[in-house]
């Protein structure tokens, strides 16, 4: 479903990625590890086409980085769910609206929006907080809202960039359980993390990057 093939990426600073290859199959759960500055976030950026490789290519769903047009990028992103360490919720809307936002921008119908939003909030066990504002929630709850927003469009892959970096161990376990459940239901998950404890305690596939190249 997602395939990165010998892709390179150069930033103005000289850093970047060097002929990275990685494939994530549907329903797979992959950890992406590596020291700071290794290029984990850059790999995710290439997948959601925020940065296009200068060499090699990336294919996501039916789209190929070599011949995608600017107008098609939004449609790639609708097939991908993205979760960040700092949640990136809109502070001026309540939980329901934050999740519904991802549907509204796709031009979904009103009825569908309500149904799908409540289903996504159900997945992360938060339907009862749908009228709370983000600042009224704990960090774990905010991250669950972000996950609900990421999955509300039924993406085939969920990209998570250190989703538990700001969370305490107990909350981290909650979030990991939610991701595990999503994965068993068929959503592929690619998660960048520093949390080796987490990585070591699981049997999932681990891809490790160092200095912009995949080691494994």
């Amino acid at each position: 479903m997602v395939k990165i093939c010998k892709a390179s990426l150069k930033y103005a600073s000289g850093d970047g990625l060097d002929r990275i290859s990685l494939e994530v199959r549907s329903g797979e759960f992959v950890y992406l590890v590596g020291p700071t500055g290794a290029g984990k976030s850059s790999v995710l950026k290439m997948i959601y086409m925020d940065a296009l490789p200068s060499e090699g290519y990336v294919t996501v769903g039916g789209y190929d980085s070599r011949d995608i047009s600017d107008n098609e990028i939004p449609f790639v992103r609708r097939k991908i769910g993205i979760v960040f360490q700092d949640f990136k919720l809109l502070e001026d809307r309540d939980v329901f609206e934050n999740v519904a936002f991802a549907l509204r921008v796709t031009g979904a119908r009103r009825k569908d929006i309500k149904r799908k939003t409540l289903r996504a909030l159900g997945e992360v066990s938060l339907p009862h907080k749908s009228r709370k504002m983000p600042h009224e929630l704990s960090g774990g709850e905010q991250q669950r809202v972000a996950i609900a927003r990421a999955i509300v469009n039924d993406p085939f892959i969920l990209l998570a960039d250190e989703p538990t970096g700001n969370l305490d161990p107990k909350t981290t376990i909650q979030i990991m359980n939610i991701l595990d459940r999503l994965s068993t239901r068929g959503t592929a998950i690619l998660m960048a993390t520093h949390n080796y404890e987490l990585v070591n305690s699981s049997v999932k596939r681990v891809v490790s990057i160092k200095n912009g190249t995949t080691l494994n």
Partner: protein, 285 residues
Amino acid sequence: MLFVLGEGLSGLLKSRLSGLMAVITIAVSSILIGIFLIITANLSYLVENLRGRVELEVFLDDSFNEEKIETLSTQIRAIHGVQTLTFISKETAVLAYRDLFKEQKDDYFDALGYNPLPASFRVTLKESYRTSTGADSVFNSISSLADINEDDVVYRREFLVLMERYIRIAITIDFLVGSIVCLSALLLVSNNIRLIIISKRRAIETMKLVGATRFLIRMPLYIQGTLQGLIGGLLATVFLYGLLKLSAIEIAGLISVNWQIYILLITLGVLLGVTGSFSAIRRYL
């Protein structure tokens, strides 16, 4: 589509302060431009009025008979630039003179025993000839007719030249101030939309991440800009309307505005809003 409109509207309501700033900026700019337009309208009205008063007088020798006068009148009418020609007989001239000097004792003509005032033609000019060069050309054509002495053709040359100079000055100032106002208005509106974009940066970033198209991201901003322009234009219209109503009491005949100026103002507001949004979005998004 509904979402886009809703976002535009709620953007306007949410970014209250900077939204208000934009609306006020547009309103103030539109008011300034409106005042400038009214002044311009009055100025050109005044100019037309003054130019319309330009006329040449051709004094006729007492020796000319009726036939001769008829011939001359036809000849002058045929000259390029002449609009109308009125014959003023010696008798009419006396009446006009008496009218002009009515406070003086009337014994002048009586004492004289004869009428010293000559008959004359009063010649008005076609619109395009109501300039100093146009009047000059007519003056030359009339002077070069046989039987007409250059001294007998009189018109207020100095007045025309002076008036043209003042018109040029007035138009220059008018145009200068007008263009400065327009330019600064555009600058400020665009700056305001830039502020709005900065304050919406997080929402825009999130929209991009969840797969919003360019249209969907930009359209609410355009709508917001257009609405602000519309409201600003309406405010300017209301303000100027009130101002004119108030000043009409003072100024009576001077100000001549028709309703078209209000339509123009609203259009101007909307245009400022749209252009401002457009340039800000192109540069900062």
